[in-house]
Symmetry: C2
Subunit: 536 residues, 2 copies
C-alpha cells in the first residue's frame, strides 16, 4: 500500500489521454497540482512515543513488533479518503506515535492494558482503507497514539463445511480470506471497492457492504459471530444462527469502529464457490425507469448476486471509457446484473430476473459492459490518484433511503454538491449509481469531480458539510457503507437522536472507562483536547 | 383471552378420546388435576395501588383507562407458559397493582414519569402471550407494579406501497395488522403460534420468529424501524434499509423485553398478498436425513416460505391425530413445505426445492398432512389447557445451533428432559421439530408431555434448570424465539458473557436510571428485593 495514495505502487498510472480531454471539456482549465512529496521530504509534527512507552509495549509484543520508524508511522497516519490523500501531499503531517503488531488475542488485551496504564490512545488498524476519518491519529485526552495493526492476527481459524461457516482472524485481508476458503471450495463473496487491501475485522467494524450484496448480503448479514477484546474484558458473541436471548450484541460491534474494543475474530457465513457466473448488461430509458426495475427485482427476490444501476451521467462516462462514444451521447442508463451459483439454479434465477427487467422496460445491452465493469471494479481508486496528480478533485460519498424517497434524495445530494462546488468557484460533474438494493430501498453512491484549485481541502469541507446536511434533511442515512469515523460524527446525533448517543456513550464508559479506544471516531471529540505541552 | 388459560374461552375444548388412550399408553395412570379455580375464588395477595397512585396515573391517561379491578389485574398477572398457567390454578395469586392503558406516545412517556416519581415498576403488556416469565408482576425495589397495556396504541399508521414498508402501533395484534394490510393488498407474513393474540410490539421486544420465517425472515429481519419511549427520552430509529452509521440501535431494542423502555411503533417490511400458496408434505427415512435435506434447501436458498421437519416421535403423533395409525407405526419423519408468491415464481421455487429434497432422499407424502398442519397450527395451546385439565403436564421449549451441532444438541436436550423427568418419577414423551432454518443452522422446538403429579411446578423447575444447563453446555442459544424473561435470565451470562451483561446494565442505567422498567426480566433480579412491609 502506498503511504500517500491508493494501493499497490506498481499499479499506479497516469491519466489516460481520453480522460484528460473529457475533463478539460467538463471542468475547464485546471491549475497544476502540488506534486506529492517524497516520504523523506515531509515533516512529521507528532513525535514518536518515548522510550519508556516503547519498552512497555515491546515487553508485550516483542521489540520486533513495535515500530517507531517514520515509514511505518506514516503508513498508519490515516485512511484513504480524498481529504486523507490531500493531507498526505502536505509538507507537515501528523502520525501515530508508534505502530504495534500484536500476535495473539492475549497480546491485544495486554497492549490495551499498557495503553490504559500509560494514557495512550489506541487506533485499531486493519487494511487502512477507511474513508471517513476513522484512522485519525487523534490522542483525545491522552499522551499519544498507538496504531494497533492487526496484520499478524490473520488467517483462517476454522471452516465448518456442513454449517458453511468460517472463523477468521480479524486481520485477514479479503483476498487472503477468499484464497484460504477457495482452497476448500468455498467463498465469502464480499467485494467492496477496498477488497484488495481491507480486512475482515475492518469490514465488521465499519459495516461494509460489497458489490455482491444483492445476493450475499452486506457484511452485517454475513457475520454470525465475533470475538472482541475491550479494555475491560473479552466478548465471544454469536451462539446460534437465530436467537432471542436478548439484544443481539454482535450487532453492537458491527459499526463499532474501534471505539469500544478490538475485533479479533470474525465468524461468517460462506457458500460453495459458484459453478457459474452469468453477467448481463441492461439499458433503461432513464434512471427513474431503471430504479423502478431494480425495486421490482429486489422486492420479488429473484436472486441476482449483483444488481447496479448507473444514472445518465455515469452511464455516459462508462460508455466513453469503453470507447462507445456514440452510445455515450445518447441518453439512457445502464445496469449490471450477475447471477451465480450452481448452474441450473443460477440460470433459473437469471430467467426470473430477466422477465422482471423486461416487463419494467429494460432492454438487454452488450454483455461486454458488464464484463468490463467486473474487470475494472477495483481500479477506480488508482484513477483518483491520477486525477489528484493532475489537479482534479475527485471524491465519492454514499447514502441510502427507501425506494419512495430515492429520487428526492438523489436530487437533494446532487444539488448540494453542484451548488456547493459552484459557490466555491468550481465547475463539477456528479455521477451516481445504485449499488445496493433491499426490498424497502437502496443506496445511492455519488462520484464527484471538480476543479477545486490547488488547495481543495477547506472548500471541500464546506461542500461536504452542506451535503451531509442535505442527506440528513432528506431523512436518509449519513452513511450506507463508509461509516461514521470522525468525518460524519457531527451528524450522528441527527441519525440516532440524543438518546441514541447516550446509549453509545454509556457502553463506551462501561467497556472503555479510560476512553483510550479510537478517540474522535464514531462519537466525535467527547473529551477535551489535551493541554498544550503535555507528553506525546 | 382467558385469564387462567390460553386464548378464546369459546374455543376451549376437552381432550379428544383418542388422545386420552394414547396418553394412558405412554404415561400410564395420571392422577386427576386440581380443577382450575373461578376468578372469584382466588385470593390476590398483592393489593391494588393506593388512591394517590391511581389519581396520578388517571391524571395522565384519564380515569377510564386506569383499572384496579380484580379481573383486569388477573388478566395481566403473567404470560402463558405452562408454569404461568399452573400458577393460575393456585388459590393465592400475585398480580400487578394496576392496569393502565395509555392512548398516545406522550401518555406512555407521562406514565413512565409518574412511575418514576412514585417508585412504581412498569411492565409493558401487549398480547400477554409471553412464555418465559417476561410479564411477572415483579416490583423489584419499587412500591408496586403498573401493567402498561398497549391495546389502545393499535392500528396502521402508514403504508408505503412503493417501499413495501408499513408503520404500525406497537399494540396492534397480528390479526389486526394482517387485516389492515390485507385491505390494501399486502401481508406481513409473521405467524408464530401466538399469532391470534400477540402484538407487533411484543414480537419486536421478544425477537419472535414465525412459522413462515424461512421465507419472510424472523421478526428481527422484518423490522426496519422502531419508536421507543424510555424513562429518559424518545428514540426514533431506522433511517434507511441499510446503514453504516454506527451500531444498529434498532437491534438493541429487538430483544429488549421492556427492560429499557416501551416500544410504541414498529416499522416493518411487507409484501403483496401471495397469489398462490403451494403446500407439500415430504417423508424422510429419519430425522438425520430430513435435517440434511432442509440444510441443503436453506443453503441453496431455493425460497420456500415454510420449511419444517418433525422427528420420528412427533411425526407419529401427527399421523395418529389425522387418523393414519398405520403410517404412524412405521418410522420416518415428515416435513411440511410451503411456497408462496406470484404464481410463476412460486412454482419455479417449488420446483427448485423439490429437486433438492428428492436428491436428498425425500419422498412426496400426502398433501393433506401439510394442509392439516396449516389448519391446526394455532390450536396446540388449546390442547395444552385440556391436557393440564386432565393432569398431564405439557410444555414446549426451543433453542438453535449450527447444522453441525444439531443432532448433538437434540440428543442433549432430549436426554436432559427424559432423565430429569424420570428423576422426578414421571414418565414422559419428548417430541421435536425443526421450525426455523438458516444457511448456517436451525432451531429445535421440543414439546414434552409428562405425568408430573398434582403439583408439577417445582419438579418442572428442576427439570427446566437441567435442560437449560444442557443447552448452554452444548454451545446453543438459551432461546431461539421465546426470549429471556425472568425464566432464562440466570443463563444469559453464559450466552453473552460478563462483559455482555455489563453492556446491558450500562444501557439500562443510562435509559432507566430508576430501574422501573420490567424488573427481573432479561437482566434478572439486579436490585435487592424491597424490605418486607414497605408500600405496595
Amino acid at each position: 500500500m502506498r503511504w500517500s495514495g491508493w494501493g499497490d505502487p506498481g499499479a499506479a498510472h497516469g491519466l489516460p489521454g481520453g480522460v484528460k480531454l473529457l475533463l478539460a471539456a467538463v471542468l475547464g482549465r485546471i491549475p497544476a497540482a502540488r506534486p506529492a512529496p517524497d516520504l523523506a521530504e515531509v515533516t512529521v509534527t507528532t513525535p514518536p512515543l518515548d522510550d519508556a512507552d516503547v519498552a512497555a509495549l515491546a515487553s508485550v509484543v516483542g521489540a520486533a513488533h513495535v515500530d517507531v520508524g517514520r515509514e511505518a508511522r506514516m503508513l498508519h497516519a490515516g485512511g484513504k479518503s480524498t481529504p486523507d490523500l490531500l493531507r498526505r501531499r502536505q509538507a507537515e503531517q501528523v502520525a501515530p506515535g508508534v505502530v504495534v503488531l500484536p500476535g495473539s488475542e492475549d497480546e491485544v488485551a495486554a497492549v490495551l492494558a499498557v495503553a490504559g496504564e500509560r494514557s495512550l490512545a489506541v487506533v485499531p488498524f486493519g487494511g487502512g482503507t477507511a474513508v471517513t476519518g476513522g484512522l485519525e491519529p487523534d490522542a483525545g485526552a491522552h499522551r499519544g497514539v498507538v496504531s494497533l495493526d492487526l496484520r499478524r492476527l490473520a488467517g483462517l481459524v476454522t471452516l465448518d463445511t456442513t454449517a458453511q461457516e468460517a472463523t477468521l482472524w480479524a486481520g485477514t485481508t479479503a483476498p487472503a480470506a477468499e484464497s484460504a476458503l477457495g482452497e476448500q471450495g468455498f467463498e465469502l463473496g464480499h467485494f467492496p471497492q477496498s477488497f484488495e487491501f481491507a480486512t475482515l475485522g475492518g469490514f465488521a467494524a465499519m459495516r461494509s457492504s460489497g458489490q455482491s450484496s444483492a445476493g450475499y448480503g452486506r457484511f452485517d448479514a454475513m457475520v454470525t459471530g465475533l470475538r472482541v477484546v475491550t479494555p475491560t474484558g473479552l466478548l465471544d458473541l454469536g451462539r446460534a444462527p437465530g436467537s432471542a436471548a436478548g439484544p443481539d450484541l454482535v450487532r453492537w460491534f458491527l459499526g463499532s469502529e474501534g471505539a469500544f474494543g478490538v475485533i479479533t475474530q470474525v465468524r461468517v457465513r460462506v457458500h460453495p464457490t459458484p459453478e457459474v457466473r452469468l453477467f448481463d448488461a441492461w439499458t433503461f430509458g432513464d434512471f427513474v425507469a431503471g430504479a423502478d426495475a431494480l425495486r421490482r427485482v429486489a422486492q420479488l427476490g429473484t436472486g441476482p448476486t449483483v444488481l447496479r444501476l448507473s444514472d445518465e451521467d455515469e452511464t455516459a462516462v462508462s460508455l466513453a471509457q469503453v470507447g462507445n462514444l456514440g452510445k455515450a451521447l445518447a441518453r439512457g442508463c445502464s445496469a449490471v446484473v450477475l447471477h451465480e451459483g450452481p448452474d441450473g439454479l443460477a440460470q433459473a434465477r437469471r430467467e426470473a430476473t430477466t422477465r422482471v427487467l423486461r416487463e419494467a422496460g429494460g432492454r438487454p445491452a452488450a454483455e461486454k459492459l458488464a464484463v468490463s465493469w467486473d474487470h475494472g471494479r477495483f481500479k477506480a481508486p488508482y484513477l483518483r490518484d491520477a486525477l489528484l496528480d493532475n489537479g482534479v478533485f475527485c471524491e465519492t460519498l454514499e447514502t441510502a433511503t427507501t425506494w419512495s424517497n430515492l429520487h428526492a434524495l438523489k436530487t437533494a445530494v446532487t444539488g448540494a454538491l453542484a451548488d456547493g462546488l459552484a459557490k466555491e468557484g468550481a465547475k463539477s460533474r456528479v455521477l451516481c449509481h445504485v449499488s445496493h438494493v433491499y426490498p424497502t430501498g437502496a443506496s445511492l453512491y455519488f462520484t464527484v469531480i471538480a476543479g477545486l484549485g490547488v488547495d481543495p481541502l477547506v472548500p471541500w469541507e464546506r461542500v461536504k458539510h452542506r451535503v451531509n446536511d442535505a442527506i440528513t434533511a432528506a431523512g436518509a442515512t449519513i452513511s450506507h457503507h463508509h461509516g461514521v469515523g470522525a468525518d460524519h460524527a457531527p451528524w450522528l446525533e441527527q441519525e440516532i437522536g440524543e438518546v441514541g448517543l447516550r446509549m453509545l456513550r454509556a457502553v463506551k464508559a462501561e467497556l472503555d472507562p479510560a476512553g483510550i479506544m479510537n478517540p474522535g471516531a464514531l462519537l466525535g471529540p467527547t473529551t477535551p483536547p489535551r493541554p498544550a505541552g503535555q507528553g506525546g
